[in-house]
């Protein structure tokens, strides 16, 4: 048999039909749903007299719109409240399980899927959200879809998909202390560009990826979309299985053993070819900070804000000029001279327990700069409870951080957590687009450790220089 990539294996297992010169019909094992991209899909089902084919393979939560303040109070934004109520009504009508605002397992859809054991190796997973690529960390084929496709999956449990190409992103060697998964993916995007992987599914390989925890692999896969990729994947291994064992929806006992046998086959065969290949040396990767309005506009913390003239094409120079103007930055400014007003630790990229532990390690026994307003938004209520059990909330609160309820929060600022015009934010989220965190807001993407250090000092610092022996 012809050697195949991890992606090929998962793809082949799910094609239920393929006409020549037409997209494949792909079976979907898990469909995650949230309040923002689903109402029009459920409405479409009603208009066409269709039902949800497999409600038990569909799981809904509320995350994008939710307030991160006291949950015992009513939602004050009536439009947000209406969207959440619509999701609740749709889930009742169509029999879809829902983790609503008051559920102890509520959280960001890409945090609760893995944490509940819904995300499993070899599954096809979709959601009306581009960061669905997160779930590929488990060796699932997971990608974001539009609302029309949400409706299609609800009705058929299938999707029409043209087969993407494959790209191997190989990270060789070991990461240095203070250099994290976030820095790896930001460095990859800075290297290949925000459309560098368009039309492909990335498989991340190499020693640095193998050494990562599941949380770290999720951070890497999460931002695959920021390089233009449909999905990112990591072959499952013992780290994956150890994470999954005992999770509520994961198979149990003999079923788990049987599953592991099958999942161990989910790796790229010797001699299988990718369409594209990129290699980075982990030793060359320093903590990253973005300076512009696209996730590819990033440099090492030791670098300076670039000059527009240093870019080759006129189009790029124009984009860079525009970005620097929006960001209020002068070319040549050392990154560590950039002061911040706000710090946001959260989002589907960096709100898991390990992210909070890493940030807390930096924050411990220190104080947030008086010029900075800083907040931590755990990715799920379960992460929040675990962090509280470990005393991380005390570390953050004592330092002057706000400690919030779970949700997407200031990653996209659909709720009340929003930047004021001109405010500059060190953010652990995934997009630094104009206005993403609030109109006129200026976003710098960084790792949780780098965000925590910026909160303490009031400007970016190279966290590798701190003595973090604890």
């Amino acid at each position: 048999m012809k050697p195949r990539t991890l992606f090929d294996k998962v793809w082949d297992q799910h094609v239920i039909h393929q006409e020549p010169d037409q997209p494949a019909i792909l079976y979907i094992d898990l469909h995650l749903v949230h309040e923002v991209t689903s109402p029009q899909a459920f409405e479409g089902l009603r208009l066409n007299g269709r039902k949800v084919r497999r409600p038990e393979l569909t799981v809904a939560t509320m995350d994008h719109n939710v307030p991160t303040t006291d949950r015992s109070l009513p939602v004050t934004d009536p439009v947000s409240a209406k969207q959440m109520e619509t999701l609740a009504e749709n889930c009742r009508e169509f029999g879809v399980p829902l983790y609503d605002l008051h559920n102890p397992q509520q959280g960001i859809v890409h945090v609760i899927g893995p944490e509940l054991g819904l995300t499993l190796p070899g599954k096809t997973i979709v959601c009306g959200d581009s960061h669905t690529s997160t779930h590929g960390a488990f060796g699932a084929l997971a990608f974001g879809i539009g609302t029309s496709e949400v409706e299609h999956v609800l009705a058929t449990q299938c999707l029409q998909q043209s087969k993407p190409k494959t790209m191997e992103v190989h990270i060789k060697g070991k990461l240095g202390p203070g250099v994290t998964a976030k820095d790896v993916i930001l460095a990859v995007i800075a290297k290949i560009g925000t459309d560098g992987a368009t039309g492909t599914v990335i498989e991340y390989t190499g020693e640095a990826i193998r050494n990562m925890s599941m949380e770290e692999r999720m951070t890497v896969c999460n931002m695959s979309i920021e390089a233009g990729a449909r999905a990112g994947m990591v072959a499952p291994d013992e780290t994956t299985f150890a994470y999954l064992e005992g999770r509520p929806y994961a198979p149990k006992g003999e079923a788990f053993e049987e599953a592991k046998k099958a999942w161990r086959q989910l790796r790229t065969d010797e001699g299988a070819a990718y369409d594209f290949r990129v290699e980075l040396d982990a030793a060359d990767i320093a903590p990253q900070v973005t300076w512009g309005t696209s996730p590819g506009m990033g440099v090492s913390v030791t670098d300076r804000v670039p000059h527009p003239e240093s870019f080759p094409s006129a189009t790029e120079q124009k984009s860079v000029k525009r970005a620097l103007e929006y960001m209020g930055l002068e070319p040549g400014t050392p990154i560590t001279d950039i002061h911040v007003d706000r710090v946001f630790i959260g989002s589907c990229t960096n709100s898991r327990i390990e992210d909070l532990r890493a940030a807390a390690q930096v924050v411990k026994n220190r104080r947030v700069s008086p010029n900075v307003k800083a907040m931590v938004v755990p990715g799920s209520q379960q992460v929040k409870r675990q962090a509280e059990a470990e005393g991380l909330d005390r570390i953050f609160r004592d330092a002057g951080f706000e400690w919030r309820e779970a949700g997407c929060s200031m990653c996209l600022a659909m709720n009340a957590d929003i930047l004021e015009p001109g405010e500059r934010c060190a953010s652990t989220s995934n997009r630094n687009f104009e206005g993403r965190q609030g109109r006129g807001g200026r976003t710098h993407l960084v790792s949780p450790m780098m965000a925590a250090a910026a909160a303490i000092e009031g400007h970016f610092v190279d966290v590798r220089k701190w003595n973090l022996t604890d």
Binding site: Q105, K252, F256, L412, F433, R436, R439
Partner: protein
């Protein structure tokens, strides 16, 4: 979905690369539960200042371009979020065709589901078109999906490529859910053979 065979209309130039879906339709307008009514918010933060006044420098506010139904843009158009509100806003504003050197995957796909034709042309052809619009040589374009040609009636004429199946669906205005549902037997057979460990563990939502 409304079919498309041929479309003639004014071209609106938007010479920016990496136009993301957050710019096409900012997040504060994603709370609606309908598919319609998003056109008024298209490119909101670029079209209007903080007081809600139109920015006269922005292309969609210029008399020559505001009634465009064909958008000409830079590479990687539609990157970022999967929000289908982006094509809904473009369509509701009046755009039926978007021409760019490249598109982000999810946005590209979402366009076809909504009767919008995204056309990929080589970077240098797009540059030529921007120049022709600026000089007034090109004003309107006719985009013919049956012939896969674009013509400005004034000497500019190019062919374009599009996936044959997507083209077919757009020409016919097909409901692809209905197409997939025709495979019911195959879906049911596949479901009967899924591994037991993928059956969702019967633990109800608490």
């Amino acid at each position: 979905m409304q079919p498309m065979r041929q479309h003639t209309g004014r071209v609106t130039p938007l010479d920016r690369a990496n136009v993301d879906t957050d710019q096409i339709i900012p997040k504060q307008f994603l709370k609606r539960i309908e598919r319609t009514g998003f056109g008024q918010y298209l490119f909101y933060n670029w079209r209007f200042d903080e007081q809600g006044n139109p920015d006269p420098d922005f292309e969609l506010n210029q008399d020559a371009y505001k009634d465009g139904s064909i958008l000409l843009a830079g590479s990687n158009f539609g990157c970022g979020s999967s929000r289908e509100h982006a094509p809904w806003a473009l369509l509701d504003y009046g755009f039926r065709v978007i021409i760019a050197p490249s598109f982000a995957d999810i946005f590209y796909n979402n366009c076809f589901k909504n009767g919008i034709l995204p056309v990929k042309l080589p970077e240098e052809t797009v540059r030529t078109l921007f120049a022709r619009i600026e000089s007034g040589e090109t004003v309107d374009l006719t985009v013919d999906l049956e012939a896969c040609r674009i013509d400005d009636g004034n000497g500019f004429s190019v062919s374009f490529e599009v996936d044959p199946y997507r083209r077919h669906c757009l020409l016919e205005g097909l409901d692809d859910t209905a197409v997939t549902l025709q495979q019911e037997d195959r879906i049911a057979k596949y479901e009967a053979n899924r591994p037991a460990y993928y059956r969702i563990h019967p633990e109800p939502v608490k």
